[in-house]
């Protein structure tokens, strides 16, 4: 019997679009919101108008509008590089600028009429588009130069921001005005470079998100407008509680306080600056109606989730007859896994600036989904989305938090700012507010049973996954939830890359009032852990080497190749010494393949991660230095969740508040990291998220190698 999940999955919607010059772009179709369908006549056709994306300035700068949020992942550098490559711009003349919220110009090529960043698709989805933009502008410059010189365009060449005619040269800046007036070429007629002509693609380049090492870069937190007010908010102590009133205790009379107001989710103290607002907020006593508030406790929740995994649940995927196979197995392992709630804890806490007046609304924020956010603001203000201007700022990281479908912090800002018409209001969440505001990575409990026969051949795999869906109740539900199964809860589990003839995947939804959301690497965080730790345990139980065991059973050549390379680079099998261990894990995610080998030293129950060797196959590495940075950083982010990070709730109240009790990886925790990128001419794939999910299983397996015990409830030192 084969029961396959129906409907949309990332892999089913893979689309490989052939470009010219041997270039390929890989597309992942994500759902299109039902609204706004008519905003662009042909939303499937990426906008390649160079006059939209490129401004050539008379002083010879090439300003490139970057349509994806720069949140650290390198969007400014990567996208400007693609434009600069085909344009033959000099690197030093490239200037990256964030595109404002405008889905008619800057929509995601795979999301229909929606501008946004996510799913590790920023570069891969723009790869062909941005190259075409650069090539089109180059053609317009050639046409303008040909007219200037009275020659044919095909006798000219370009190099480092100049058009060259024999011994004569014209800079792009000199041709800017004339080029802009040239007809925009049809993208289908453009000739793109062959890989052997690349001057930037494939090379490490200096980052173009500048001003981050001298304090000059401006984040939302740094916005300062004439007459601007700062708001500090007081949220309910439990999710779902409603504000019924407040006693200002004189705080409203304090010097510099402009007002204390209620809004949809609490009370805001609005003042001339942060410290005035923060000091006043401490005086305010808010009363809450908690009749519908969530009273969940994580300790009880784990028992509930565990109980659910013993129920039949919803069938996500079935193949063969797992029950029969288990009865005939020679070696069986059964393991359970717990991965807790986690806040994103971006370095820049959530914030937004809004000015609302009779003409509309102007916003400043590190927008990750500006189109949805503009619609949300329009909805609560009763105006049209076109009346909402979204100024996109660089963001002090996101890890998924700023792609919030409800745009909780932004709409809160709009709701407060509308009460101070005409005045810009900056909502600044304190770290405590940010930690306790919800929208966490959902907690998952999993139970896995796997078996081999007497020769170590794979027989059966059964996996139960219990937790709250991040997609249900959002605009993405219709596309990503099928028969009650949220694709993001099982991604990386089903479609096992190991040759089990019998499989049985079950999902158990546990709904509650704690808001949950995608968190860097999303479902792979729990599924990679379950898959790779169970495989490791199964190999050891069958008396086989964990790397060889996987390689023998692996069904995907690229998957096997990263695993094999990681083992070689790490010196798999070398003598580790007392209390030390080496563990491996591999995962296919965001269309990329990542294998990690972790080396750990045990000090009693304490785990010290000494080194991580990482091998990634992300297709063509457009900027190998950024790919390496994303692997290093993804490992650091993943390390926190395996070692320390947790978020616990008691009777509906979040216990953690700030970095003293929400522990994350610090310099002293960071291992040596070695990154190897597989050479590839395949289309570029995602790098922002993949490494994060693979850290936990590699470390857990290394701990098991050192101690003989698989510790599968994260964090290891919670």
């Amino acid at each position: 019997m084969i029961v396959k999940r129906q409907g949309l999955s990332r892999r089913r919607f893979l689309q490989v679009v052939a470009g010219t010059g041997g270039a390929l772009v890989l597309g992942v179709h994500l759902p299109r919101p039902a609204h706004a369908e008519s905003e662009r006549p042909d939303a499937n056709r990426p906008n390649t108008d160079p006059n939209v994306f490129i401004t050539l300035t008379p002083d010879n700068r090439v300003e490139v509008m970057i349509k994806h949020l720069e949140m650290g992942q390198g969007a400014f550098t990567g996208l400007a590089m693609l434009v600069g490559e085909e344009l033959d711009a000099a690197w030093d003349q490239l200037v990256a600028k964030p595109a404002p919220g405008d889905p008619t110009k800057f929509n995601h090529t795979q999301w229909g009429p929606m501008q946004g960043t996510g799913g590790s698709t920023g570069l891969s989805s723009s790869y062909l588009q941005m190259r075409q933009v650069g090539a089109a502008m180059r053609q317009m410059l050639l046409a303008a130069a040909a007219k200037r010189w009275g020659v044919k365009a095909d006798t000219l060449r370009t190099e480092q921001g100049q058009v060259i005619n024999g011994n004569e040269r014209l800079s792009y800046g000199e041709l800017a005005e004339a080029a802009r007036a040239e007809p925009v070429p049809n993208p289908d007629g453009l000739t793109l470079k062959n890989p052997d002509q690349f001057i930037y693609i494939g090379k490490p380049m200096p980052r173009l998100d500048k001003g981050k090492t001298d304090g000059s870069a401006i984040y939302t937190q740094d916005i300062n407008l004439p007459g601007m007010l700062t708001a500090v908010v007081i949220h309910p102590p439990r999710f779902g509680a409603k504000v019924t009133g407040f006693n200002a205790n004189g705080a409203d009379k304090a010097d510099g306080v402009e007002g204390i107001v209620t809004f949809s989710n609490g009370v805001a103290v609005v003042a001339k600056d942060f410290w005035t607002a923060q000091s006043a907020a401490k005086q305010v006593k808010v009363s809450w109606d908690e009749s519908n508030a969530e009273r969940l406790s994580t300790s009880a929740m784990w028992e509930t989730l565990k109980g659910l995994t013993n129920q039949p649940g919803l069938i996500a995927e079935q193949k063969g007859d797992a029950s029969k196979a288990f009865a005939e197995a020679a070696h069986t392992v059964e393991m359970d896994f717990a991965t807790p709630f986690l806040p994103h804890a971006t370095m820049e806490p959530m914030n937004c600036v809004a000015r609302v007046d009779k003409d509309g609304c102007e916003l400043w924020s590190g927008f990750q989904m500006p189109t949805g956010d503009q619609m949300g603001a329009a909805r609560i203000l009763g105006i049209k989305p076109e009346q909402v201007k979204a100024n996109v700022l660089i963001a002090g990281s996101s890890f998924g938090r700023r792609a919030n479908p409800a745009w909780d912090y932004g709409l809160e800002c709009v709701d407060i700012a509308r009460q101070f018409p005409g005045k810009p209001v900056k909502v600044v969440w304190t770290r405590e507010v940010d930690t306790r505001a919800g929208w966490y990575r959902p907690a998952y409990y999993q139970r896995v049973k796997a078996a081999v026969d007497g020769e170590g051949k794979l027989l059966a795999w059964q996996q139960h996954i219990a937790g709250k869906s991040v997609v249900s109740g959002t605009p993405f539900e219709s596309a990503l939830v099928h028969n009650g199964i949220d694709h993001t809860s099982i991604e990386g589990a089903t479609d096992l890359p190991y040759a089990f003839p019998n499989t049985d995947f079950r999902v158990h939804n546990h709904n509650h009032g704690v808001p949950v959301q995608w968190w860097r690497a999303v479902g792979h965080n729990h599924t990679a852990l379950a898959k790779e730790v169970t495989m490791d345990a199964l190999a050891r139980k069958a008396g086989q080497d964990p790397v060889q065991f996987r390689l023998q059973q692996g069904t995907n050549p690229r998957y096997n190749a990263v695993l094999k390379t990681a083992a070689e680079k790490a010196g798999w099998g070398k003598e580790m010494g007392a209390n030390r261990g080496m563990g491996v894990a591999v995962q296919f995610l965001f269309e990329s393949y990542v294998a990690l080998v972790a080396e750990v030293t045990m000090e009693g129950d304490e785990v010290k991660v000494d080194k991580i060797t990482c091998v990634v196959d992300c297709g063509l590495a457009v900027d190998p230095d950024i790919v390496a940075a994303q692997m290093e950083g993804g490992i650091g982010f993943g390390l926190g969740q395996v070692l320390f990070s947790t978020l616990s709730i008691e009777d509906g109240k979040v216990k953690q508040s700030n970095f003293q009790n929400h522990k994350v990886a610090r310099m002293r925790d960071m291992p040596e990291v070695e990154v190897h990128i597989m050479p590839s001419a395949e289309p570029p794939t995602g790098v922002g998220e993949p490494a994060t999910a693979v850290v936990a299983p590699a470390v857990v397996n290394a701990v098991a190698a050192a101690t003989g015990k698989y510790r599968t409830h994260l964090p290891l030192m919670g």
Binding site: G72, R207, M667
Partner: protein, 155 residues
């Protein structure tokens, strides 16, 4: 209360509530926004500045207690050590989102000013107060070592 602060070599006369942390004076009163708010309780290091050359968390240091001292922020991180640190940071593409990097750069400048050749343990000690959620620690470590080497060979 009225106070006078010396920030990046310039004298500023200000009037703020007497419990105002230096961080908010820098950001909201003076307009030097390079120093960042991350936690408010000296746990993350995003607000690190130098006070008389030594790293300090400006989110918990009352501005009034910084009177009479030389305050250096990222905007004023000039001088041989500071400039070398920033140059190496850029050369190695250390930053990602960058929000913590003002603090990282100032902490590294403070470290190299007092310890020209820090080993791994000294780097752990000096830099573990500066959280980077993007996980740039590998490059921060490398950059400190490279800056140390450059400063030594230049001297």
């Amino acid at each position: 209360m009225e106070m006078t602060l010396t920030i990046n070599g310039q004298s500023h006369k200000i009037d703020v509530a007497d419990d105002t942390p230096l961080l908010w004076v820098l950001r909201d009163t003076i307009g030097l926004t390079g120093t960042k708010y991350g936690c408010g309780i000296a746990q993350c290091g995003a607000c690190t500045v130098l006070v008389d050359g030594r790293p300090a968390r400006s989110c918990t240091l009352r501005a009034r207690n910084a009177q009479g001292k030389a305050i250096t922020t990222i905007e004023g991180n000039q001088g041989r050590v500071g400039e070398t640190v920033i140059a190496v940071w850029n050369e190695l593409n250390v930053h990602q989102c960058g929000y913590c990097q003002s603090g990282q750069v100032m902490a590294a400048t403070g470290l190299l000013s007092s310890n020209p050749k820090p080993d791994d343990a000294a780097i752990d000690q000096a830099m573990s107060g500066c959280i980077c959620r993007c996980g740039t620690y590998v490059r921060v470590r490398k950059a400190i070592k490279q800056a140390a080497e450059q400063l030594q060979s230049d001297s």
